[in-house]
Symmetry: C2
DNA sequence: ACAAATTTGTACGTATGTATT
DNA sequence: AAATACATACGTACAAATTTG
């Protein structure tokens, strides 16, 4: 097995592995995949020779990182190792510090824009008509909702997921989705939404650019999409 | 049993908040900052009317996300909400799946390169001479170590931290550092390092480009820096 | 340097709630 | 509908670590 484990040189300094690490090692050694069942807490308690409470506390840690997934009354399974923990941590950080630290949301928006813009050439080249049609429907729904003064989080999130899916980089897709969630949660604390129609319309503009097959237009459209979002942020943080 | 959760100041909730959420709410409401002391486990157990084991399990979750920081025998404090949880989760995902899913490390490298390249113009414009000198010293150390066949993780990490610090985007700096850690950990499982001299020398080339004040050269130098890293990855995954 | 006090860490037993078959 | 397997919850006792006097 690849997992390096006490190789002669560290028996003086040898600190016993934590329960968390031993459970991780169990998953690694047994080559488990996401979704595979883990031993029950009682079995782990026996195998690792620690109490149930210790196992449970370790499972809470692993579960927070989505390394395991606990299904109440049924069992524990290897998790998908998604970025839900990052979302939770960042969202809390944003809610706690965005009053004092206006950079946080700004940095987040900059990152979102940068990552989306970066794949503009690829998107223009590869985005297929069906996906564009689906995105067009979402954009239309957004405009309708905005006209009624309603927000459109579900549509917006899915739109951006489809946009970045073309990149072929799964990690970026997951990261951007996390940033979307964090932005959505934190911006709620800044008061009611504003500039809804402008934001909704910006999605149509993005699709127009894609259909015009111009990477430059797409980049510009994406940047324009973030303008009203930044403007809203500016208004909110100015009023401190 | 369920002893109705008795905090009188908020009762609009249909489904009772989890212990984790109630502790988060405590931090939010009391406007605590990272480093501020939390109540002891016994106090929280009394205040929230749940057993200490429950409190401890919630603390494990919060601690995994660095929302609280627990110090044995001393107390619990509000955490820095760093990205350590992300690093742990991604590193484990990489170690578990990189054998089967070669995209993971590739996506990670692409992201690192993209983020560093993006701020090349700013770096060329703003990186001060002192920082460049410090980075030069690091690069020289790297070359020396490489010549002895030794690796240089500490120097490499610090080099890239200094490089991206210029961006002014703290979030990007933290993310890149996480990616560095994950890459470092996961690539260990691919076998011994290779192409060390090339990689070390690439850092000098980056500094040369910065001193030549050309954003284009810097971008090219950064991309060349990642070439031997990708090459090593290719060799490792080809041998599956 | 020592000891006491405080606080988190570990263990275990028992009872209860919950999802699946 | 019942049985089973499993996670959730509580309480107590003691161990280990850290600060403070």
């Amino acid at each position: 097995m690849v997992t390096q484990w006490p190789t002669a040189d560290d028996d003086a300094e040898r600190v016993p592995l934590t329960v968390v690490d031993r459970i991780k090692r169990y998953i690694l050694i047994n080559r488990l995949s996401p979704g595979d069942p883990m031993p029950t807490e009682n079995e782990l308690s026996d195998q690792l020779a620690v109490s149930r409470s210790r196992i449970r506390e370790a499972m809470k840690t692993l579960s927070a990182l989505d390394i395991v997934e606990v299904r109440h009354g049924y069992g524990t399974f290897v998790g998908a190792m998604s970025l839900t923990g990052l979302a939770e941590s960042l969202a809390f950080r944003g809610m706690l510090t965005s009053h004092r630290d206006k950079h946080f949301l700004a940095d987040l928006i900059d990152l979102r824009e940068l990552l989306e813009v970066n794949w503009a050439p690829l998107v223009v080249e590869r985005l297929d008509a069906d996906t564009v049609a689906a995105m067009r429907a979402l954009a239309t729904t957004m405009v309708d909702l905005a006209a009624q003064g309603r927000e459109f989080p579900v549509e917006d999130r899915q739109f951006h997921q489809l946009l970045v899916a073309t990149s072929g980089n799964a990690l970026v897709g997951q990261l951007l989705d996390v940033f979307w969630q964090v932005h959505s949660l934190v911006s709620e604390t800044l008061g009611p939404a504003s500039l809804l129609p402008e934001t909704a319309q910006a999605h149509h503009a993005i699709l127009d650019a894609i259909e015009s097959r111009s990477a430059e237009s797409l980049e510009a459209a994406i940047r324009r999409h973030y303008a009203p979002i930044r403007e809203r942020m500016r208004r909110a943080t100015d009023g401190l």
